[in-house]
Amino acid sequence: MPRPTPTTITLSIDGREIQAPENAMLADAAKLADVEIPVFCYEPKLGQPVGACRMCLVEIEGIPKLQTACSTAVKDGMIVHTQSERARVAQRAIVEFLLINHPLDCPVCDKGGECPLQDITFGWGAGDSRFIEPKRHFRKPLELSPLIAIDRERCILCYRCVRFAQEISEDYQLILLERGEHSFVGTFDGHPYVAPFSGNIIELCPVGALTSRPYRFRARPWEIEGAGTLCTLCPAQCNVTLTVRDERVLRVLARQHDEVDDGWLCDKGRFAYQAVHVDERITAPMIRDGGELREVGWERALAEASAGLRRAGARTAALAGGGASNEEGLLLGRLLREGLGSPHLDSRPGGAVSLDEWRALSAPALAATVSDLEFAHAVLVLDCEPVDDAPILELRIRKGVRRRHVQLAVATDRPSALDPSARTLRFAPGRGAELAAALAAALRGGDVDALAAAAGSGADAVRALAGVLREAGDEVVILYGERLLDGGAAGLLALADALGLAGHPGAGLIGIPDAANGRGLRESGVLPNAGPGLGDPALDGGRDTTAIAAGLGSGELTAVYLLGVDPLRDLPDRAAWAEALEHASTVIVHAGFLTDAVREHATVVFPAEAAAEKEGTVTHPDGRVQRLRPAIARQGAVRAEWSILAELAARLGTDLGVRSGAMVSAALFDAVPFYAGLTLEELGGHGVRWPTREQAATLPSPSDAAAAPRAPRPAPAARGGALAFGSYRSIWAGPEVAASPALAFLHPEQRVELSALDARRLGLEDGVEMLVSDETGAQIHARIAPRDAVPPGSAFLQRGIAADSANVLIGSTIEILPIPEPVEPAAEADPDGGPVEEALV
């Protein structure tokens, strides 16, 4: 869909001639003349103006009635007076009306000092009121959710918050109840407003009616400073401003970037800052001593780590993930390859993707941008769940559908939150690769029937969806999840090719990596088969993640360096990793929290920096290199993680030549050809998308031999009564959520989602805890969660959670069984009791 290209017109505001884009709203255009028109209900991010608060009444020559500037599009030759007597009278009147039912409790209001109502009253109000009736008083503040407090006395009914819930997040949970002066913001029957994006309403509220419970009364606006950086809790890498007081992060606000987050944040990004300052956070190095981890000084830890690495040498492997920066990725690669002579490093949870496939997938010609999701003719969400995998992108997709009528297609195994807005195609759990191939075949010829069958979808449904994509228009964006690349890269590339996406502005691919900086880590060389810039690796024979686990398990590898990854939590096949880590003689981790692998297996623990402390760059899934800027001093004994890597390399005899964060960034820009010439200044607060740079041409082309899509796997063999299962990682899975007191209530427990039909057939009741067992006998506990939208025969479980994670299961089907009665303490059978307990886990 072509983006609007506004023409410029000339108008006069308060006697100043200005140029403004035609059809811009007057309230926005006035800013170009340095004229502020006061607004409350108007917020362009919320969509069409509603003209409810009437604060922005102005006089326009030729129009008898005063007009609301928020809803009046500017026209050439328009003459506007915002400060004429008539306009001033009306503005004063609106302020007077608004303050009738406002308590004016500014001295005890959390919004005081950063309150639009205060500012506008001061700027446009009369300074006094003729209202002498008693004001209304109510209980306050009240809980609207565990995160948000509501003070209904202060509410001026601007509707921003309820419009957010309707127009942006579309959760329709926050509503206006009653009518007229009795109207109030609330929820259905006293349910809390808990939704992935609920916190945005705090920022939208122009008065102190909606406040952050974690932030309330922690600071006054004149005691804080704002620090712009990024959130690296997920690949969406939203731009944020951290509110800092005395070296503590007290709040996270959106720092609007239209090409990244559109000015919104998810609640994880908004509230998980608390994890920076909790006691559980690891803020000092530790080593394992006599089976227990204990805090030590840096020298001891570095010595221990370097000794372990020296012992293992080329038999060391490394994994990077989480919020590890590009710079850290680069140095990790050098440490391994140059310092230890080991080619074994990876940043992907699954199996390998060929270097040619990486290059093809990263090609600038196929790179779509975040805003393309809004302006495309069609968006295909393929094998990912945006709200879990990169939440803020979901809002962008919804915006496109709602405002620009983007055709949305969702092809996933698990029902998606976007289904109600989309044309939906389901495939069997884990069969994204087959589905992609089937779609490609439907578009350009091939055995659709066989591929669709292998995907567990109907061939006609596949053809129909292919037809929708073909007919929608040229600009199609495919948003896919990293797990699709487990065998699906060729199919995906074939699909992109069939749709002719390459080189088409506004069309292309966006891959959501598993790790927050997955793309940056790849591009900085943390792959078994690629060096920095997806160049040929300096050393061949690198093992991928799966092979690393096997190598550690078999003793071929003896040390592992875990940069921001907890394999027991983040990677498939927990048992294999438990064995691998058990066998490894050296396990060095950078971690913020004592998650399972750290607690049970680490031999050296380096404290990880929080994003708020980190300096460096990360790369957004759409190729935007963005800058992390430290907002607070590192807590406790935390050191820059890049410096740990550099120090270890030095101790192993390789001077990486970096002495400051800026030097590492410079080294990165030197090492990655398509980052060449970037500077931190240029990245500034908005980053740079490398695929649009001239240097993008340095990305090596894939070899001509087009990879044939992998042969479809046979359909999973049915077991009597068993369900094919898939897994997903919830937005709320993650140690930062668990460690943030405000968010802990969201940290998920395992549940098994299955169709209502299967639940009935198997006699399973909602909410009952059961034993879930796969065909290999691996078991976890999970609560039953019947869901109408889950296709019969399938079931879904969560991974990435602390207990009973789906990565315990390694088969492809599950059975759901009653939990056996607890065995009586078998004192006589097992005197020390320990093994019995373990066996139950």
């Binding site: 209304r136 809980e143 259905f188």
Partner: protein, 206 residues
Amino acid sequence: MNRVARFAHGSRVPGWDQAADLDKDPSGVPDPALVEVPPQLRAEIEAAMARYPERRSAALPALAAAQRVHGWCSPEAIEQVACVMRLTPAYLSSVATFYDMFELEPVGRHSVYVCTNISCSLRGADGLYAQIAEAAAGDPEINLRSFECLGACDIAPMVSVDHVYYGPLGPGDAQRLVEDLQAGRDPIPELALALRRSADPNANGA
């Protein structure tokens, strides 16, 4: 005169003092796997949805149907509507609380709306309301409400009993109305609006 008590100094608007119950789960679109809907109600709502190009348009008829089944727009009733319409209960609550004819608390099965707007009050509606209130005092089956203009000022003062209009009510009619209702009879039948001829002398070919 209204469902919500008027506030004056110190009084309260119901709901304004209500915090969310943090022990409850958030309330999204109900999963059909977890909500039972009476088949008749489901059919009625689905038929209503089919009448409009956009199913959301059926919100008022669907809520009205649920109110007929449940007697009021109870949370349970709203959840059932939400389940069939694929909307959130919150959205439907927001709609239901906007309109005067949706009952947000359990009420008696006979609705008696007394118009107390200007034309009726000029002709004694406020007194009529008081008389009915007195006559019906303590009868839980009678849902007496003072209503805004019901569009029947020609028969002022008037009442709408179970959505049928009667008027003008004179002395004694209030008592009789309540008695008729309590006895299960058609109330004050001779005062039914349906029987009334046009006031215009030229209307019927005079």
